[in-house]
Protein backbone atom coordinates (compact mmCIF):
# COMPACT_ATOMS: atom_id res chain seq x y z
CA UNK A 1 0.00 0.00 0.00
CA UNK A 2 1.20 3.47 -0.77
CA UNK A 3 2.66 5.41 2.09
CA UNK A 4 1.45 8.90 2.84
CA UNK A 5 3.46 11.65 4.41
CA UNK A 6 2.07 13.19 7.56
CA UNK A 7 3.39 16.11 9.56
CA UNK A 8 2.15 17.31 12.90
CA UNK A 9 3.31 18.77 16.18
CA UNK A 10 3.63 16.30 19.05
CA UNK A 11 4.03 17.84 22.47
CA UNK A 12 5.58 20.91 20.86
CA UNK A 13 7.99 19.08 18.54
CA UNK A 14 7.60 18.85 14.76
CA UNK A 15 7.14 15.28 13.58
CA UNK A 16 7.19 14.01 10.01
CA UNK A 17 6.53 10.38 9.14
CA UNK A 18 5.50 8.20 6.24
CA UNK A 19 2.62 5.97 7.26
CA UNK A 20 0.59 3.41 5.40
CA UNK A 21 -2.77 4.79 4.43
CA UNK A 22 -5.27 3.73 7.07
CA UNK A 23 -2.78 3.71 9.94
CA UNK A 24 -4.39 4.92 13.13
CA UNK A 25 -2.85 7.78 15.03
CA UNK A 26 -2.43 5.38 17.95
CA UNK A 27 -0.25 3.04 15.91
CA UNK A 28 1.64 5.91 14.32
CA UNK A 29 2.44 7.39 17.73
CA UNK A 30 3.41 4.10 19.34
CA UNK A 31 5.12 2.21 16.52
CA UNK A 32 6.50 4.97 14.29
CA UNK A 33 7.25 7.85 16.63
CA UNK A 34 7.84 5.88 19.82
CA UNK A 35 5.43 7.68 22.13
CA UNK A 36 3.89 4.73 23.97
CA UNK A 37 1.94 6.81 26.46
CA UNK A 38 -1.38 6.33 24.60
CA UNK A 39 -2.42 2.73 25.27
CA UNK A 40 -4.22 0.37 22.92
CA UNK A 41 -7.01 -1.10 25.04
CA UNK A 42 -10.04 -2.02 22.94
CA UNK A 43 -9.03 -0.56 19.55
CA UNK A 44 -12.68 0.28 18.94
CA UNK A 45 -13.25 3.49 20.79
CA UNK A 46 -14.89 2.35 23.99
CA UNK A 47 -12.20 2.18 26.68
CA UNK A 48 -10.50 5.58 26.43
CA UNK A 49 -6.98 4.28 27.11
CA UNK A 50 -5.71 5.75 23.81
CA UNK A 51 -7.03 9.26 24.48
CA UNK A 52 -4.92 12.15 23.22
CA UNK A 53 -5.56 15.87 22.78
CA UNK A 54 -5.77 17.09 19.19
CA UNK A 55 -6.06 20.86 18.73
CA UNK A 56 -7.42 21.15 22.24
CA UNK A 57 -10.07 18.43 21.84
CA UNK A 58 -10.07 15.06 23.54
CA UNK A 59 -9.79 12.40 20.84
CA UNK A 60 -9.53 8.63 20.65
CA UNK A 61 -6.31 7.96 18.78
CA UNK A 62 -7.42 4.40 17.93
CA UNK A 63 -10.28 5.83 15.83
CA UNK A 64 -8.30 8.69 14.32
CA UNK A 65 -6.40 8.13 11.08
CA UNK A 66 -2.88 9.49 11.21
CA UNK A 67 -3.21 10.94 7.73
CA UNK A 68 -6.03 13.21 8.92
CA UNK A 69 -3.73 14.84 11.48
CA UNK A 70 -1.64 16.94 9.09
CA UNK A 71 -0.72 20.21 10.77
CA UNK A 72 -2.45 19.26 14.00
CA UNK A 73 -1.24 20.09 17.49
CA UNK A 74 -1.20 16.74 19.31
CA UNK A 75 -0.64 16.39 23.03
CA UNK A 76 -0.05 13.16 24.95
CA UNK A 77 0.63 12.32 28.56
CA UNK A 78 4.29 11.78 27.71
CA UNK A 79 4.60 15.50 27.03
CA UNK A 80 3.06 16.80 30.24
CA UNK A 81 6.09 16.91 32.50
CA UNK A 82 8.28 19.96 31.99
CA UNK A 83 11.99 19.75 32.69
CA UNK A 84 11.51 16.69 34.88
CA UNK A 85 8.77 18.36 36.93
CA UNK A 86 5.52 16.46 36.83
CA UNK A 87 2.34 18.16 35.63
CA UNK A 88 -0.08 18.90 38.50
CA UNK A 89 -2.36 16.13 37.25
CA UNK A 90 0.46 13.60 37.26
CA UNK A 91 1.46 14.76 40.76
CA UNK A 92 -2.14 14.45 41.93
CA UNK A 93 -2.55 10.94 40.49
CA UNK A 94 0.51 9.90 42.47
CA UNK A 95 -0.51 11.67 45.67
CA UNK A 96 -4.07 10.31 45.54
CA UNK A 97 -2.91 6.76 44.72
CA UNK A 98 -5.15 6.96 41.65
CA UNK A 99 -3.34 4.31 39.66
CA UNK A 100 -2.81 0.61 40.16
CA UNK A 101 -1.89 -1.33 37.03
CA UNK A 102 -1.57 2.02 35.26
CA UNK A 103 -2.93 1.04 31.87
CA UNK A 104 -5.85 3.49 31.92
CA UNK A 105 -3.85 6.28 33.56
CA UNK A 106 -2.57 8.19 30.48
CA UNK A 107 -6.06 8.27 29.00
CA UNK A 108 -7.56 9.36 32.30
CA UNK A 109 -5.00 12.15 32.57
CA UNK A 110 -5.74 13.35 29.04
CA UNK A 111 -9.49 13.43 29.75
CA UNK A 112 -8.86 15.25 33.01
CA UNK A 113 -6.56 17.76 31.34
CA UNK A 114 -9.17 18.76 28.78
CA UNK A 115 -11.66 19.17 31.62
CA UNK A 116 -9.35 21.34 33.73
CA UNK A 117 -8.28 23.43 30.72
CA UNK A 118 -11.92 24.39 30.23
CA UNK A 119 -13.27 24.14 33.76
CA UNK A 120 -10.51 24.98 36.24
CA UNK A 121 -12.76 24.46 39.27
CA UNK A 122 -14.93 21.49 38.36
CA UNK A 123 -17.59 19.95 40.55
CA UNK A 124 -17.51 16.26 41.36
CA UNK A 125 -20.24 15.78 38.74
CA UNK A 126 -18.11 17.56 36.15
CA UNK A 127 -15.23 15.18 36.88
CA UNK A 128 -17.45 12.09 36.71
CA UNK A 129 -18.84 13.29 33.38
CA UNK A 130 -15.37 13.99 32.00
CA UNK A 131 -14.05 10.55 32.98
CA UNK A 132 -17.13 8.62 31.90
CA UNK A 133 -15.60 7.62 28.57
CA UNK A 134 -12.56 6.03 30.21
CA UNK A 135 -12.61 2.55 31.71
CA UNK A 136 -10.59 1.61 34.78
CA UNK A 137 -10.72 -1.92 36.15
CA UNK A 138 -8.53 -1.54 39.24
CA UNK A 139 -9.29 1.49 41.32
CA UNK A 140 -13.05 1.73 41.55
CA UNK A 141 -12.72 5.27 40.04
CA UNK A 142 -13.04 7.08 43.37
CA UNK A 143 -9.28 7.67 43.76
CA UNK A 144 -9.17 8.98 40.17
CA UNK A 145 -12.04 11.39 40.79
CA UNK A 146 -10.27 12.57 43.95
CA UNK A 147 -7.00 13.03 42.04
CA UNK A 148 -8.63 15.30 39.46
CA UNK A 149 -10.28 17.37 42.18
CA UNK A 150 -6.92 17.53 43.98
CA UNK A 151 -5.17 18.76 40.82
CA UNK A 152 -7.85 21.42 40.34
CA UNK A 153 -7.33 22.65 43.90
CA UNK A 154 -3.55 22.68 43.41
CA UNK A 155 -3.95 24.70 40.21
CA UNK A 156 -6.23 27.27 41.81
CA UNK A 157 -3.83 27.65 44.75
CA UNK A 158 -0.93 28.23 42.37
CA UNK A 159 -2.96 30.77 40.42
CA UNK A 160 -3.97 32.66 43.58
Amino acid sequence: MAKVPVQFTLNGSEKAEFVESGTTLLNALRDKIGDTSPKGGCHQGTCGACSVIIDGELRLSCLTLAETCGGADIRTTAGLAEGGVLHPLQRAFLDAFATQCGFCTPGMIMAAKVLLDRTPNPSREDVVEALSGNICRCTGYEPIIQAVLLAARANSQNAA
Binding site: T46, F97, Q100, C101, C138, E142, I144
Partner: protein, 334 residues
Protein backbone atom coordinates in the same frame (compact mmCIF):
# COMPACT_ATOMS: atom_id res chain seq x y z
CA UNK B 1 -44.86 -0.23 42.57
CA UNK B 2 -42.22 1.57 44.55
CA UNK B 3 -38.56 2.13 45.31
CA UNK B 4 -37.82 -0.03 48.33
CA UNK B 5 -34.86 0.35 50.59
CA UNK B 6 -32.99 -2.45 52.34
CA UNK B 7 -29.90 -3.07 54.38
CA UNK B 8 -27.77 -6.22 54.44
CA UNK B 9 -24.76 -7.41 56.35
CA UNK B 10 -22.20 -10.12 55.66
CA UNK B 11 -18.90 -11.25 57.16
CA UNK B 12 -16.16 -13.41 55.69
CA UNK B 13 -12.98 -15.26 56.59
CA UNK B 14 -10.56 -15.39 53.69
CA UNK B 15 -7.47 -17.61 53.46
CA UNK B 16 -4.09 -16.13 52.55
CA UNK B 17 -2.73 -18.41 49.85
CA UNK B 18 -3.82 -21.92 49.10
CA UNK B 19 -2.75 -25.43 49.85
CA UNK B 20 -2.83 -28.02 47.12
CA UNK B 21 0.52 -29.74 46.70
CA UNK B 22 2.34 -27.39 49.05
CA UNK B 23 2.71 -23.66 48.49
CA UNK B 24 6.31 -22.43 48.07
CA UNK B 25 7.94 -19.15 47.07
CA UNK B 26 11.67 -18.55 46.87
CA UNK B 27 13.70 -15.34 46.73
CA UNK B 28 17.30 -14.34 46.12
CA UNK B 29 18.92 -11.13 47.35
CA UNK B 30 22.32 -9.79 46.38
CA UNK B 31 24.14 -6.50 46.59
CA UNK B 32 25.47 -4.59 43.63
CA UNK B 33 29.07 -3.27 43.84
CA UNK B 34 27.70 0.07 45.07
CA UNK B 35 25.66 -1.36 47.90
CA UNK B 36 22.20 -1.39 46.38
CA UNK B 37 20.27 -4.59 46.88
CA UNK B 38 18.63 -6.62 44.15
CA UNK B 39 15.75 -8.90 45.06
CA UNK B 40 15.16 -11.53 42.40
CA UNK B 41 11.71 -13.08 42.34
CA UNK B 42 9.47 -14.87 39.93
CA UNK B 43 6.47 -13.41 41.69
CA UNK B 44 4.84 -11.01 39.26
CA UNK B 45 3.62 -7.51 40.03
CA UNK B 46 0.24 -7.27 38.30
CA UNK B 47 -0.27 -3.73 39.50
CA UNK B 48 -1.06 -4.73 43.06
CA UNK B 49 2.15 -3.11 44.29
CA UNK B 50 4.26 -6.20 44.94
CA UNK B 51 7.50 -4.45 43.99
CA UNK B 52 6.96 -1.67 46.50
CA UNK B 53 6.07 -4.05 49.32
CA UNK B 54 8.98 -6.40 48.63
CA UNK B 55 11.34 -3.41 48.53
CA UNK B 56 10.02 -2.27 51.92
CA UNK B 57 10.38 -5.76 53.40
CA UNK B 58 13.92 -6.22 52.07
CA UNK B 59 14.99 -2.72 53.15
CA UNK B 60 13.55 -3.14 56.63
CA UNK B 61 15.31 -6.50 57.07
CA UNK B 62 18.71 -5.42 55.80
CA UNK B 63 18.49 -2.01 57.40
CA UNK B 64 18.75 0.29 54.39
CA UNK B 65 16.42 2.92 52.90
CA UNK B 66 13.74 1.48 50.59
CA UNK B 67 15.14 3.32 47.59
CA UNK B 68 18.34 1.28 47.88
CA UNK B 69 16.43 -1.86 46.91
CA UNK B 70 15.60 -2.89 43.35
CA UNK B 71 13.04 -5.61 42.73
CA UNK B 72 13.48 -7.82 39.67
CA UNK B 73 10.37 -9.84 38.98
CA UNK B 74 11.00 -10.08 35.31
CA UNK B 75 11.39 -13.69 34.35
CA UNK B 76 9.67 -16.81 35.65
CA UNK B 77 12.03 -18.96 33.54
CA UNK B 78 15.21 -17.75 35.22
CA UNK B 79 14.06 -16.46 38.60
CA UNK B 80 13.72 -18.46 41.82
CA UNK B 81 10.56 -20.51 42.00
CA UNK B 82 7.25 -18.90 42.91
CA UNK B 83 3.82 -20.48 42.66
CA UNK B 84 2.50 -17.14 41.46
CA UNK B 85 0.69 -14.04 42.60
CA UNK B 86 -2.83 -15.32 43.18
CA UNK B 87 -4.94 -16.40 46.14
CA UNK B 88 -3.81 -13.21 47.93
CA UNK B 89 -0.51 -14.97 48.64
CA UNK B 90 2.09 -12.55 47.22
CA UNK B 91 2.87 -10.40 50.24
CA UNK B 92 2.71 -13.33 52.67
CA UNK B 93 4.67 -15.99 50.79
CA UNK B 94 7.16 -13.86 48.87
CA UNK B 95 7.51 -11.47 51.80
CA UNK B 96 8.59 -14.30 54.11
CA UNK B 97 11.02 -15.59 51.48
CA UNK B 98 12.49 -12.11 51.04
CA UNK B 99 12.96 -11.74 54.80
CA UNK B 100 14.93 -15.00 54.96
CA UNK B 101 17.09 -14.06 51.97
CA UNK B 102 17.65 -10.54 53.25
CA UNK B 103 18.68 -11.81 56.70
CA UNK B 104 21.35 -14.00 55.13
CA UNK B 105 22.58 -11.12 52.97
CA UNK B 106 22.59 -8.81 55.98
CA UNK B 107 24.75 -11.28 57.89
CA UNK B 108 27.38 -11.34 55.12
CA UNK B 109 27.22 -7.55 54.91
CA UNK B 110 27.86 -7.27 58.65
CA UNK B 111 30.73 -9.77 58.42
CA UNK B 112 32.45 -7.73 55.73
CA UNK B 113 31.85 -4.53 57.68
CA UNK B 114 33.31 -6.22 60.77
CA UNK B 115 36.49 -7.04 58.89
CA UNK B 116 36.77 -3.45 57.66
CA UNK B 117 36.13 -1.99 61.12
CA UNK B 118 38.15 -4.68 62.93
CA UNK B 119 35.31 -5.48 65.30
CA UNK B 120 33.00 -8.43 65.89
CA UNK B 121 30.04 -8.63 63.50
CA UNK B 122 27.66 -9.21 66.40
CA UNK B 123 28.59 -5.77 67.75
CA UNK B 124 27.38 -4.00 64.59
CA UNK B 125 24.05 -2.44 63.73
CA UNK B 126 22.61 -0.59 60.75
CA UNK B 127 21.42 3.00 61.08
CA UNK B 128 18.73 2.62 58.41
CA UNK B 129 20.32 5.42 56.38
CA UNK B 130 22.94 3.38 54.55
CA UNK B 131 25.60 3.02 57.25
CA UNK B 132 26.81 0.30 59.59
CA UNK B 133 28.06 1.30 63.02
CA UNK B 134 29.32 -0.19 66.25
CA UNK B 135 26.52 -0.47 68.80
CA UNK B 136 26.96 2.28 71.35
CA UNK B 137 29.76 3.91 69.34
CA UNK B 138 28.11 5.34 66.23
CA UNK B 139 31.24 7.38 65.42
CA UNK B 140 32.87 4.10 64.42
CA UNK B 141 30.96 3.40 61.23
CA UNK B 142 31.27 2.51 57.57
CA UNK B 143 28.90 3.17 54.70
CA UNK B 144 27.21 0.21 53.05
CA UNK B 145 28.57 1.61 49.78
CA UNK B 146 32.11 1.06 51.07
CA UNK B 147 31.21 -2.34 52.50
CA UNK B 148 29.92 -3.47 49.12
CA UNK B 149 33.03 -2.18 47.34
CA UNK B 150 35.19 -4.03 49.82
CA UNK B 151 33.20 -7.25 49.42
CA UNK B 152 33.37 -7.11 45.64
CA UNK B 153 36.92 -5.86 45.01
CA UNK B 154 38.93 -6.65 48.12
CA UNK B 155 37.51 -9.49 50.13
CA UNK B 156 35.91 -11.61 47.44
CA UNK B 157 32.61 -12.00 49.25
CA UNK B 158 29.13 -12.14 47.76
CA UNK B 159 26.73 -10.15 49.90
CA UNK B 160 23.77 -12.32 49.11
CA UNK B 161 21.12 -14.52 50.59
CA UNK B 162 18.66 -17.27 49.73
CA UNK B 163 15.11 -17.29 50.95
CA UNK B 164 12.44 -19.93 50.95
CA UNK B 165 8.98 -19.99 52.36
CA UNK B 166 6.89 -23.12 52.12
CA UNK B 167 3.48 -23.92 53.47
CA UNK B 168 3.68 -27.73 53.36
CA UNK B 169 0.91 -29.73 51.85
CA UNK B 170 -1.90 -30.52 54.27
CA UNK B 171 -3.54 -33.93 53.82
CA UNK B 172 -7.14 -34.36 54.89
CA UNK B 173 -7.84 -36.78 57.72
CA UNK B 174 -9.41 -39.85 56.15
CA UNK B 175 -12.27 -40.16 58.63
CA UNK B 176 -13.34 -36.54 58.96
CA UNK B 177 -11.94 -34.79 55.92
CA UNK B 178 -10.52 -32.15 58.24
CA UNK B 179 -7.42 -30.37 56.95
CA UNK B 180 -5.57 -27.10 57.28
CA UNK B 181 -6.17 -25.28 54.00
CA UNK B 182 -4.44 -22.12 55.18
CA UNK B 183 -2.30 -20.90 58.06
CA UNK B 184 -3.49 -17.33 57.93
CA UNK B 185 -6.90 -15.74 57.44
CA UNK B 186 -8.00 -12.20 56.75
CA UNK B 187 -11.48 -11.10 57.81
CA UNK B 188 -14.02 -8.60 56.58
CA UNK B 189 -17.51 -7.37 57.29
CA UNK B 190 -19.70 -5.22 55.06
CA UNK B 191 -23.00 -3.44 55.55
CA UNK B 192 -24.69 -2.46 52.29
CA UNK B 193 -27.69 -0.22 51.79
CA UNK B 194 -29.61 -0.56 48.55
CA UNK B 195 -32.65 0.74 46.77
CA UNK B 196 -34.61 -1.76 44.68
CA UNK B 197 -37.14 -0.62 42.13
CA UNK B 198 -39.75 -3.37 42.35
CA UNK B 199 -41.17 -2.36 38.96
CA UNK B 200 -37.92 -2.53 36.95
CA UNK B 201 -35.87 -4.79 39.24
CA UNK B 202 -33.01 -2.32 39.23
CA UNK B 203 -30.72 -2.22 42.26
CA UNK B 204 -28.85 0.92 43.32
CA UNK B 205 -26.22 0.49 45.99
CA UNK B 206 -26.36 3.63 48.13
CA UNK B 207 -23.65 2.91 50.65
CA UNK B 208 -21.18 0.19 51.54
CA UNK B 209 -19.46 0.29 54.90
CA UNK B 210 -16.55 -2.15 55.08
CA UNK B 211 -14.31 -3.25 57.92
CA UNK B 212 -11.25 -5.24 56.91
CA UNK B 213 -8.91 -7.11 59.27
CA UNK B 214 -5.78 -7.66 57.23
CA UNK B 215 -2.93 -8.27 59.65
CA UNK B 216 -0.40 -5.46 59.58
CA UNK B 217 -0.83 -2.97 56.73
CA UNK B 218 2.75 -2.83 55.42
CA UNK B 219 1.88 0.15 53.22
CA UNK B 220 -1.31 1.69 54.57
CA UNK B 221 -2.06 3.88 51.51
CA UNK B 222 -1.66 0.96 49.13
CA UNK B 223 -3.84 -1.19 51.37
CA UNK B 224 -6.52 1.50 51.33
CA UNK B 225 -6.26 1.73 47.55
CA UNK B 226 -6.69 -2.04 47.22
CA UNK B 227 -9.67 -2.05 49.57
CA UNK B 228 -11.46 0.85 47.84
CA UNK B 229 -11.06 -0.79 44.44
CA UNK B 230 -11.94 -4.20 45.86
CA UNK B 231 -15.12 -2.94 47.46
CA UNK B 232 -16.21 -1.54 44.11
CA UNK B 233 -15.38 -4.85 42.44
CA UNK B 234 -17.50 -6.69 45.02
CA UNK B 235 -20.50 -4.58 44.08
CA UNK B 236 -19.67 -5.23 40.45
CA UNK B 237 -19.59 -9.00 41.08
CA UNK B 238 -22.90 -8.76 42.90
CA UNK B 239 -24.81 -6.77 40.31
CA UNK B 240 -23.03 -6.67 36.95
CA UNK B 241 -20.42 -9.16 35.99
CA UNK B 242 -21.11 -12.21 33.90
CA UNK B 243 -19.89 -13.66 30.64
CA UNK B 244 -23.39 -15.02 30.12
CA UNK B 245 -26.09 -12.82 28.65
CA UNK B 246 -28.51 -11.21 31.08
CA UNK B 247 -31.29 -12.64 28.92
CA UNK B 248 -31.72 -16.23 27.74
CA UNK B 249 -30.60 -15.96 24.14
CA UNK B 250 -26.80 -16.38 23.90
CA UNK B 251 -26.77 -13.92 20.99
CA UNK B 252 -27.48 -11.19 23.50
CA UNK B 253 -24.37 -11.96 25.52
CA UNK B 254 -21.24 -9.87 25.56
CA UNK B 255 -18.56 -10.68 23.01
CA UNK B 256 -15.63 -8.87 24.57
CA UNK B 257 -14.65 -6.82 27.58
CA UNK B 258 -16.40 -3.78 26.19
CA UNK B 259 -19.66 -5.53 27.00
CA UNK B 260 -18.43 -7.00 30.27
CA UNK B 261 -19.60 -4.05 32.23
CA UNK B 262 -18.69 -2.87 35.68
CA UNK B 263 -20.05 0.17 37.52
CA UNK B 264 -18.76 3.39 35.97
CA UNK B 265 -17.64 6.57 37.70
CA UNK B 266 -21.25 7.75 37.79
CA UNK B 267 -22.49 4.57 39.53
CA UNK B 268 -20.34 4.60 42.65
CA UNK B 269 -21.76 3.78 46.05
CA UNK B 270 -20.71 5.92 48.97
CA UNK B 271 -17.88 3.77 50.32
CA UNK B 272 -16.40 3.59 53.77
CA UNK B 273 -13.26 1.60 54.58
CA UNK B 274 -12.03 0.81 58.07
CA UNK B 275 -8.83 -1.20 58.55
CA UNK B 276 -8.19 -3.32 61.63
CA UNK B 277 -4.64 -4.53 62.12
CA UNK B 278 -4.17 -7.78 64.03
CA UNK B 279 -0.67 -8.93 63.04
CA UNK B 280 -0.60 -12.54 61.87
CA UNK B 281 1.72 -15.05 63.54
CA UNK B 282 3.42 -16.28 60.38
CA UNK B 283 3.19 -13.26 58.05
CA UNK B 284 6.06 -10.95 57.10
CA UNK B 285 5.97 -8.24 59.79
CA UNK B 286 2.49 -9.55 60.62
CA UNK B 287 0.95 -9.07 57.17
CA UNK B 288 -1.92 -11.13 55.77
CA UNK B 289 -3.29 -11.15 52.24
CA UNK B 290 -5.64 -8.19 51.68
CA UNK B 291 -5.81 -8.81 47.92
CA UNK B 292 -8.89 -10.73 46.94
CA UNK B 293 -10.83 -10.95 50.15
CA UNK B 294 -11.75 -7.28 49.94
CA UNK B 295 -14.04 -7.96 46.95
CA UNK B 296 -16.05 -10.70 48.69
CA UNK B 297 -18.22 -9.47 51.57
CA UNK B 298 -20.10 -6.93 49.42
CA UNK B 299 -21.71 -9.76 47.44
CA UNK B 300 -23.67 -11.46 50.25
CA UNK B 301 -24.24 -8.06 51.86
CA UNK B 302 -25.92 -6.77 48.69
CA UNK B 303 -27.92 -10.02 48.32
CA UNK B 304 -29.08 -9.67 51.92
CA UNK B 305 -29.95 -6.02 51.37
CA UNK B 306 -32.04 -6.96 48.32
CA UNK B 307 -33.87 -9.52 50.47
CA UNK B 308 -34.41 -6.89 53.14
CA UNK B 309 -35.77 -4.50 50.52
CA UNK B 310 -38.15 -6.71 48.54
CA UNK B 311 -38.24 -10.06 50.34
CA UNK B 312 -36.76 -12.27 47.62
CA UNK B 313 -33.62 -14.40 47.88
CA UNK B 314 -31.46 -14.18 44.77
CA UNK B 315 -28.92 -17.00 44.95
CA UNK B 316 -27.45 -16.66 41.45
CA UNK B 317 -24.97 -13.96 40.48
CA UNK B 318 -25.13 -11.36 39.19
CA UNK B 319 -28.32 -10.08 40.78
CA UNK B 320 -29.86 -8.78 37.58
CA UNK B 321 -33.15 -6.91 37.22
CA UNK B 322 -34.59 -9.93 35.44
CA UNK B 323 -33.75 -12.28 38.29
CA UNK B 324 -35.34 -9.93 40.79
CA UNK B 325 -38.51 -9.50 38.71
CA UNK B 326 -38.85 -13.27 38.21
CA UNK B 327 -38.41 -13.83 41.92
CA UNK B 328 -40.98 -11.13 42.73
CA UNK B 329 -43.39 -12.72 40.26
CA UNK B 330 -42.90 -16.15 41.86
CA UNK B 331 -43.36 -14.60 45.29
CA UNK B 332 -46.63 -12.95 44.22
CA UNK B 333 -47.87 -16.22 42.70
CA UNK B 334 -46.62 -18.03 45.81
Amino acid sequence: MAIRRGRGIAAINYPTGMNLGGDPTQALVHSTPTGNFMVTLSSVDLGQGMKQIMAQICAETIGVPTDRVVIDTADTDTGPHCMGTFASRGTHRAGNAVIQAAKEARQVMLEVAAEELEVNASDLETDGQGNIQVKGAPQKSISIFDVALSAHFKRGRSISGRGMFLIPRSYPEKETGAMKPSTCYAHACTVAEVEVDDETGEVTVLTVKNVFEIGRALNPKMVEQQLVGGSWMGISHALSETTEPYYPNRDHGGTDFNQYLMPGPGDLAETEIIVLERPSADGPFGAKGPGEMCANPQIPAVANAVFDAVGVRIDTLPITPERILRALKAQAAG
